[in-house]
Structures are given as C-alpha cells and as structure tokens.
Symmetry: C2
Subunit: 335 residues, 2 copies
Amino acid sequence: MTRIQDVGEFEAIRRLLAARPKVQGVVVGSGDDAAVLTPEPGMELVVTTDTFVEGRHWRSEWIGAHALGARLSAANLSDLAAMAARPQWAVVSYGMRRDHDLEDLLAFDAGLSLALVADGAGLVGGNFAAVDGPEWFGLTLFGACAPDRAWRRSGARASDAIAVTGSPGRAAAGLQLAQRFGLPDAAAWWAPLFEAWAAPRSRVGFARSIAAIDAVRAAIDVSDGFAADLGHLCDASAVGAEIDAWPPDPLIERAADELGVSIEALRFGAGDDYELALAVAPPARARCESIARDANVPLTWVGHFTANPSERTWIDSEGARRSLPRSGWDHFTQR
Amino acid sequence: MTRIQDVGEFEAIRRLLAARPKVQGVVVGSGDDAAVLTPEPGMELVVTTDTFVEGRHWRSEWIGAHALGARLSAANLSDLAAMAARPQWAVVSYGMRRDHDLEDLLAFDAGLSLALVADGAGLVGGNFAAVDGPEWFGLTLFGACAPDRAWRRSGARASDAIAVTGSPGRAAAGLQLAQRFGLPDAAAWWAPLFEAWAAPRSRVGFARSIAAIDAVRAAIDVSDGFAADLGHLCDASAVGAEIDAWPPDPLIERAADELGVSIEALRFGAGDDYELALAVAPPARARCESIARDANVPLTWVGHFTANPSERTWIDSEGARRSLPRSGWDHFTQR
C-alpha cells in the first residue's frame, strides 16, 4: 500500500492524470488554473473548483461565516482571473453538521453570493450533505472566454517581465499571527496582514482589462506560495526565472521576526494570497502599469524570465544570488 | 440560534434560495434536477453536483473504490438523464485522509472516469483537500442540451401517464440488508437488490432516445424515495398523482419481511435508486415502450397524474385508496 502522504499531493495528482482517458472538447485540461472547454465553436467555457475544510482552511474563531463565504468565492474567482475569464455561474456543495446554525449558513451563502455578484457571477445550484466530523464548503465556478483568449501557464518567454499583484506572503503571515496571538488582538495589531488572509481582493476586473491589451503571455494564480506557483509557470513555459526586484515589506519583516520564521519563508513559501503572477512582454510594461493604477491594483515588477529552464534565482538585498525555495504547500505531506 | 436539523434540509434550502440574488443567463435555477444555463444563444449548459460522505453514503466494508467512483458518476449522470441532457465534462473534489491508499484513489478515479466515458463525458479537473475525519468525494457534472429541450419537473398534465424505470426501493433494500447481515453474505443472497445499490445503471442513453420523440412532459430523478420525488414533480407541475399499477416485486417483499419494515416503506420511501420518473403524454406510451425495449431499460406504467394538486394516492393490492407517504430522506433530520 502506498499512502498519499508518502508520495505527496502533486505526485498523486500526476498519477491520476496519467491514467485518465482523453476527453473531447478540452482546450486546456488539468494542470492549469482552470479547465478550458468548448461547448460550441466560437466560445470557451472555463471551469475551476476549490474546497475549504474546517480546521485546515479555517476555524470559526478566525473568521465569520459571511467573510468565509466571500473568501471561498475569492479563491475560485482567482483561478478564473488567472485565465482572464469572465465569471458567470457557480454551484456550491455544503458539508455541514446537523446542528449547523441556519443563520450562519445564510450568512455564508450571502458572502459567497455577494463576492460572485461583484464579478458578474452567481449561484445556480448546489448540494447539501450532513457530516459528523469537520465541515467543508466546495465551490465550482464557471466562466466564459473568447476562443483562444484564455491565459495559460505556458507561453512565458525568456526576458518577459514578471509582475505580481498585491503582496504575496501577507495572507499567510496574517493567519499565522492569528493562530499565535489569537483574535481580535492579531487582527487589530496586524490589520493589513490579517485582512490579506481574511478578505482577499478579486483580481478578475484587472485581469479582464489587461487581457484586452494582449500584453500577458502567461499567468498563474499565486495561492500555494509565490516560489512554488512561479515554478509551475516556469515548468509549463520551459523557462527559468530571476527575481531581482522584490520590494521590501516592513510589515512582513516585522511579522517574520515576531513569528520566528525567515522573511523568505513568508514571502516566497507561504500560500493563501489569491494574487496573480504574470509574464508580460517588456514593451507592454507601461500600459500594464497604467491599467493597474486605474484599477487600483498594486502591481510590482519583481524580475524576469530566463532561457535556462532550471533557473529559479533570487537576488537578495545584499546582491547575492540565491535559489528560490522549491516547494509550496502540500496538503498531504504538510510541507 | 436555529439549527438546520430543527427546520430540516428542505426548509433550509428554501430559505437559502429565497435570499439569493438573481443571476443572468439562467433558464432553470435551483429546485430542479440540474441547473440550465445559456452561455451562448443557441445552446444550453446543464449542471449538477453531488457528494458522497463516508459513513453516510458508503462504508469501505460495503463497496470497493472502483465501484464507489462509478456510483458517484451514476448519481450525477442520473440528474442529467432527468433533464435529457448530454453529459460532457466533470470536475471532482477529493477530501481524503493523508494516509489514503493511492491505489484506492486511482481505482476510484478510474471507476468515476469509466462511468462517465460510457455516457460520453470525462473528467477535466478537480481539487484535493486533506481531512482528518470522514472522507468525501464530490462531483460536478455538466452537459449540453438544445435550447428549450431540457426536461423539467414542471410540465406534467392531469391524465399524463406515470412511468418509472427500474425497480425503486431495491437499492435501499440492498443497502439495509448489507448493513444488517454484512457482506459478502448479503450481496450473495440478495444480489439483485445489493447490485441496485452498488451499481446503479445509467439512464442517460434511454433519456436521450426518448427525448427525441417529444413524448415526455416532465421528469425527475428518483433518488430520495419514489413518493418524495413524485411529490416534487407534482408540486412543480401543480398536479396530483394516483399510483394504481405498482407491480409486485417478490424480492422487495421478502426483503421487507427479513428487515422487519413495511413493503411500502421500501418501495415508496427509500432512496438511492437513481432511476427516472416520467410524465408521458398518453398517446406516446407505445413508442416509449418500444424505445425502452430497444435500450434494455425496464419501464413500468405505474399510474397517472390527476387534476387535484393535493392528491397523492396509492391503490393497494386490495383495491383500497391510501395516501402515499409524504416525506423522503432528509440528511439533516434523518427522517
């Protein structure tokens, strides 16, 4: 017997995908942020799914039902943003204990709906299941894209600029601070970090605007840790990466100190950000900046792709060339 | 605080749906077997989702991983059959313990895939989550339908004939026998009942064939118990129903005796069948029979719809008029 924890989540998924039969009408299958399908010539359907499990993705002490619903929508919307798709419909799956508070359920569902509505989508169905153990909430989100316009992880070229939205690492720092010091203290003292975890912003509108100028060659949702997700994009595009302009973030630095972890572990290794990493054709940088400014989205140029597919370099603040950490979050090995 | 178990699953869902904002592009929303959406003029997308929870929907002593995967596909395929939709793609959500056996996972996924492929569909993505408590497997299935061709629960008219596929009640009887007497004994002695639970047949091909002759005015997936599901169809169509020709099933009768429950509780009240109940325009009966024969699907005419919307009558074997039981399975009240 081989246990999943022995081989890890990604190897288990690799074996699953290798064994699956080919499916008709699939433009992009498993292995990108979302699947791209062609129900009809002339249109593409983009589909993603994500599930939050009690005790692993949240505890009721950390986040209220409404905010948790909004956060589950944000996690799924982020996958569609990473494909530059227009969100349309979602179905939700509820695994709840029999004594689950109905008002809490209504608040969760409202949080889910409102976050979807803000990006033009809505709930169209779902399923209830009663559970005895930890609860879970799963969302499957569908959107549309014009033919051949969905961003993929492949497509980055050497010398393309690497852009990142928001401040990766803040979400995980906020969560770790809440776990360490409890709420509401952590939320009050470390509001920008805790908010990054509890209420991630949707990047859908920004992605749709920037897709219109045809500047992005590849994209990925940053949710498993920046280094791991950048690595997935590099692997898919057969390029390397050099991060030479990661901006200092005094809040992350203070949090790392307080938590007794390295700054790099937070900003490169920790997940839950639901931000975007983009490969941008260099001449389009200025136009991307202008769109980001108009959309009020923080966009940072952190480095560039290189021709050496095995390169994952980070130039630290002393100018030393270092390797980016390789691994992201694996739910099964918990490394 | 109101607990879900205090109001029951159906009332909780009613309150959720009442609070949700309206969504664009929805032809049929929550409250039918599947949602019907219009991504483009000229096509309809049909979507359903279902989840199996360990300890509630299955135990590993009752069913192997491959058969369980096939059964989850069957549960979802049945919803698309009840809309006469053509299954196309699915995404799967895995909630597994870290020590879950990888070979079991591969077997489950293969069972899922093969059942989908048999109806022309396939897996295009999914999600992994690690859990500490009971495991769960969720599938979201989508298919296509020509505009205005999806069967709905509404549409039945007084005097339409009521047809049912298979033998509702057998699945629940098989499961209860397995729980009572254990496997492999129950499966060996009661093979047709246990198989009805463990390996439900897909009715997709039959539904697609019969949809082509335009004979069906309303349809529902029989999965919560025949009486409850027929009641949902009656409610949606504002008609009553009289069941006057339910065929005797000696196996169900023996099982009821063995289990110490009433025959009616099994055949009208018990779920898990994944069969279809259809409202058929009377002149089309003979053509439906012929299609069922060609498709090798058992089809029985069990009664007819009536003009009194509150009627749910069953004529028993002595000719007495009795009321069909009202309630189906509620996961939260467990009644």
